[in-house]
């Protein structure tokens, strides 16, 4: 038969075990909630990572095109494109189509031939300079349009990523609620019993 002091000690120990058990269960639940919340976060991040890969690829393509060598190659192509039709137009406007009356003295005919030859050479140089100048504008126009295209191609993925993130809080809250384990009554029963035993022991009920 236990003495009052022994009973009180057993009660205190039982109460302590009950409290410890409750804490253990609460910690387990918090751990599960944290894990569930993290899982929801990682799922969202994974979903966004896939989308982000599309955007990253688009950016990579654009950066590759903007690399010095590629840019220079593109600039040359743009200049060639700008020059070709102008060269064709120049070829179509030969000086031979200009003439004087057949009876014009040879010295005048020769003078005109020289003049036309000079003019043609100058026009050719002017045309070359013009296309070079405009090709520079074209190159930067192309770069601007490529940048615009990149920005356009990022609009929808960015929107989707924002949408996924907007739902994250709800998903996390729900995951937490689903993972939450209510603290079982065992700990509370032990605490209650321990407290009762402690009181009984203290009041000398057991002698």
């Amino acid at each position: 038969m236990c003495t009052g002091i022994e009973t009180a000690l057993v009660g205190a120990a039982l109460s302590g075990v009950g409290t410890a058990y409750n804490n253990y269960q609460a910690n387990k639940s918090a751990e599960a909630e944290q894990k569930a919340s993290n899982t929801a976060l990682m799922d969202t991040l994974d979903r966004n990572k896939e989308i982000q890969q599309t955007s990253a690829n688009a950016l990579q393509d654009r950066l590759a095109k903007a690399a010095p060598e590629e840019f220079e190659e593109n600039a040359q192509q743009v200049e060639a494109n700008r020059t070709a039709p102008v060269q064709a137009a120049l070829t179509a406007s030969t000086p031979e189509q200009m003439n004087l009356a057949g009876s014009t003295p040879k010295i005048v005919q020769d003078s005109m031939a020289n003049k036309l030859s000079d003019v043609f050479r100058q026009v050719k140089t002017d045309a070359k300079n013009l296309t070079k100048l405009n090709a520079t504008g074209d190159t930067w126009l192309q770069a601007g349009l490529d940048n615009q295209h990149l920005a356009d191609s990022l609009v929808v993925p960015a929107n989707m990523q924002r949408g996924n993130l907007a739902g994250l809080e709800l998903r996390q809250q729900n995951a937490i609620l689903n993972a939450r384990k209510p603290v079982s009554a065992i700990g509370d029963v032990m605490k209650g019993a321990g407290s009762a035993l402690g009181s009984a022991g203290g009041s000398g009920y057991f002698g």
Binding site: R82, N99, L100, L177
Partner: protein, 203 residues
């Protein structure tokens, strides 16, 4: 009670996830419609546009050159210098005017194609923003189709102005000054009361 709450949360999350998936599908569908509507606007399309520009203006320039050549030669002949080194010089300058304009037209055609390229790109960007804002694929498709149709409509080019007007001006001025020189008898503009001769200066 707790179980009931959890179930309600689950269904709310599922509904939210489904709504988001549907929203993203609508966005993707709208984007596809825009891409499809703007697919014809490739490099070949712009090259063809530039060619049309040139095809429209070049014949006008060629016709103007023929007329300018005739006017110049008539002007020079009226001054009695039709077979002089001055005439050869003037014809050389006319050729410069013509060749410069011919190459400028070819260059302008590229510029016009670039303007169209910029316009198309701007329209495409607008639609992508509209699609993202409205999340309505039907609206995106309809609007994309409408804009693409407007953009491919046959271009309305204004006529080529009088390219050689300023070049011919000095020769015209000479004729006017000559006709108005002091001591010149009255001359009707219609030539009806011309004092003598049957020749007529071509303007």
């Amino acid at each position: 009670m707790c179980g009931g709450g959890g179930s309600s949360n689950n269904s709310a999350t599922k509904a939210a996830n489904r709504a988001e998936q549907e929203r993203q599908a609508r966005l993707a569908q709208g984007q596809s419609s825009i891409e499809a509507a703007f697919e014809p606007f490739d490099d070949d399309y712009y090259a063809d546009y530039a060619q049309k520009f040139q095809n429209y203006y070049e014949p006008q320039l060629d016709r103007q050159k023929v007329h300018a050549d005739a006017k110049l030669k008539a002007g020079l002949a009226s001054r009695g210098i039709g077979q002089s080194s001055m005439a050869s010089n003037a014809i050389g300058e006319l050729f410069r005017e013509y060749a410069t304009n011919k190459t400028a037209l070819a260059d302008d055609a590229q510029g016009a194609a670039n303007n169209l390229r910029t316009e198309v790109s701007g329209n495409r960007s607008d639609l992508i923003a509209l699609n993202a804002a409205t999340e309505d694929p039907n609206l995106a498709a309809t609007e994309a189709q409408a804009r693409a149709t407007t953009l491919v409509a046959p271009p309305k080019f204004s006529s080529l102005g009088d390219v050689f007007a300023s070049f011919l001006e000095p020769f015209k001025s000479y004729k006017t000054a000559y006709n108005n020189r002091s001591g010149t008898p009255y001359q009707s503009s219609t030539g009806q009361y011309a004092p003598s001769g049957s020749g007529q200066v071509v303007n």
